[in-house]
């Protein structure tokens, strides 16, 4: 394909693994590039040392001769046998409000029915204005967060500007794409603040899925820049290892996410104050940990604004549970008193 030629995609290790016959006929082998970015722009050069390409992992090869047999899945007999179930199960959420972005997550890492670690950190900062919440397989998330941090740091060093949040999401999504169909399980919410106006080549081409509403003018061929491309400000983007990449205002991911998102949907308004937003996030995670066995222990809350991210002190949800019980008891008391007064008066 034309695009493959320009991008040099033929020389990536992922291409080699997938189209191995075609590759070896065409070119002499050479060592893979040092990172994802340089794969696309530089010619190949021989490097003696073992490069740390993110794509240079072992992708389990599985015979897949029948089209549309499902992609290599866990019930395949050639899959690697694991000594213990991977840590999965979590509740993470993030939303945008007038005061910025709140990201919250529980701290339990579960492996099957065992709590492997009751206090891990599921929200990690990538740079001063980007924080990533992770869910899915813990090991995969840690790995991919580090890779992402490395790639954007390299980008920043090369181009002397920070990659936009949408660009970061796209980069991550493309890095994950070769692993689609394998057992990599990663579902991240990128919570970041774009400080510079994002002027990508949106302006030049009839780009992307943002179709601007101005096309109805009969003068017709002026390409208006869709508003999303110029936005500074908070951004929430959900990126998942199946390839989904969604931008939105409120996301919740993980086994406890249905419980959390419903609490958020009821209580969330744009005009919340910071304290109200934090307590809404805390309550949403609390309700999810109450119902979901695979979420629990503590809650981490991060707040991202134009000045960067800040982390609140970790709070134990056990206390929240007892506080909730006390609150409920008080409300019942008050109601009883009111009805007694009604009877009396």
């Amino acid at each position: 394909m034309a695009l493959e030629d320009i991008c040099g995609f033929k020389y990536t290790p992922a291409y080699r693994k997938v189209f191995s016959d075609a590759f070896f006929k065409e070119t002499t082998t050479s060592h893979p590039m040092t990172d994802f970015y340089t794969l696309q722009t530089e010619k190949l050069r021989n490097s003696g040392r073992d490069s740390a390409t993110p794509l240079h992992f072992f992708v389990p090869t599985v015979p897949n001769s029948v089209p549309f047999s499902s992609r290599p899945s866990s019930n395949n007999s050639l899959a690697v046998h694991r000594p213990f179930p991977l840590s999965h199960g979590t509740t993470t959420l993030a939303f945008i409000f007038q005061g910025g972005i709140i990201a919250a997550a529980d701290t339990r890492a579960s492996a099957g029915g065992l709590v492997a670690n009751p206090d891990i950190q599921k929200i990690s900062p990538v740079h001063s204005h980007l924080v990533v919440t992770s869910s899915g397989s813990g090991a995969d998330c840690m790995q991919w967060e580090r890779l992402l941090a490395r790639e954007i740091r390299l980008y920043q060093l090369r181009h002397r500007r920070r990659l936009s949040i949408q660009g970061t999401a796209k980069l991550l999504s493309f890095m994950l794409h070769p692993f689609k169909g394998t057992e990599v399980c990663v579902a991240l919410i990128l919570c970041g603040w774009d400080k510079e106006a994002v002027t990508t080549d949106c302006a030049k081409k009839a780009d992307s899925s943002c179709i601007s509403g101005d096309n109805s003018s009969p003068a017709g061929h002026h390409i208006t820049v869709s508003p999303a491309c110029h936005n500074r400000g908070p951004k929430l983007i959900y990126v998942c290892s199946d390839g989904a990449r969604l931008q939105g205002d409120i996301f919740s991911v993980g086994s406890g996410s249905p419980y959390a998102v419903s609490v958020l949907d009821v209580g969330l308004r744009w005009s919340l104050s910071k304290e109200e937003a934090v307590s809404l996030a805390r309550e949403a995670v609390f309700r999810a940990t109450h119902r979901d066995a695979y979420s629990g222990n503590n809650v981490d809350i991060f707040h991202v604004t134009a000045r960067g991210w800040s982390q609140r002190q970790r709070e134990d949800l056990k206390e929240e549970y007892y506080r909730e019980k006390k609150r409920e008891a008080m409300i019942v008391e008050q109601r009883k008193r009111l009805t007694e007064l009604d009877f009396a008066g």
């Binding site: 089209p67 179709i211 989904a244 998102v261």
Partner: protein
Amino acid sequence: MEYLIGIQGPDFVLVAADNVAASSIIQMKHDYDKMFKLSEKILLLCVGEAGDTVQFAEYIQKNVQLYKMRNGYELSPSAAANFTRKNLAEYLRSRTPYHVNLLLAGYDDADGPSLFYMDYLSSLAKTPFAAHGYGAFLTLSILDRHYRPDLTREEAVDLLKMCIAELNRRFILNLPSFNVRVIDKEGIHDLEKISAGTKTDTN
């Protein structure tokens, strides 16, 4: 789960897609746009497996734009549809087939409006009307019954509303809103979104 529909008139094509981006039982987004603008007068509507849709559609989109940059003129809708089908067919028997169902709608200055139906096995058909998704089972017969080749735009929108009303009546999943666009010789125009509360004439 997802629903696409296209209706071709004598000098326009009307297309609509639902707005839900779902992940198992949860709606992750309820204002998601499934239409990709390939050129000034061609739209690609794409549904299917989560990452495949965006990857494949953006790949086609960029290639169509590359063609324009290289050659100075745009691909016609029919050429774009065949190019898309060829790509889908090539990936079909590779280790990473794209599981996507597509509708390609466009207006050619020479040939007029056209609507192409493509599915994940890379079959391609030029049709006057088409639909994808479980909703198609409910709405194709309505289109068979009420479609005429000389529909005006208002009649086409009414036919679309009839289909959506049927979905709201009989489809077990809730599809609260739909993006609607029209392509004609002036380009692509956004029409009013159709939501669950919209009054439809047939009801």
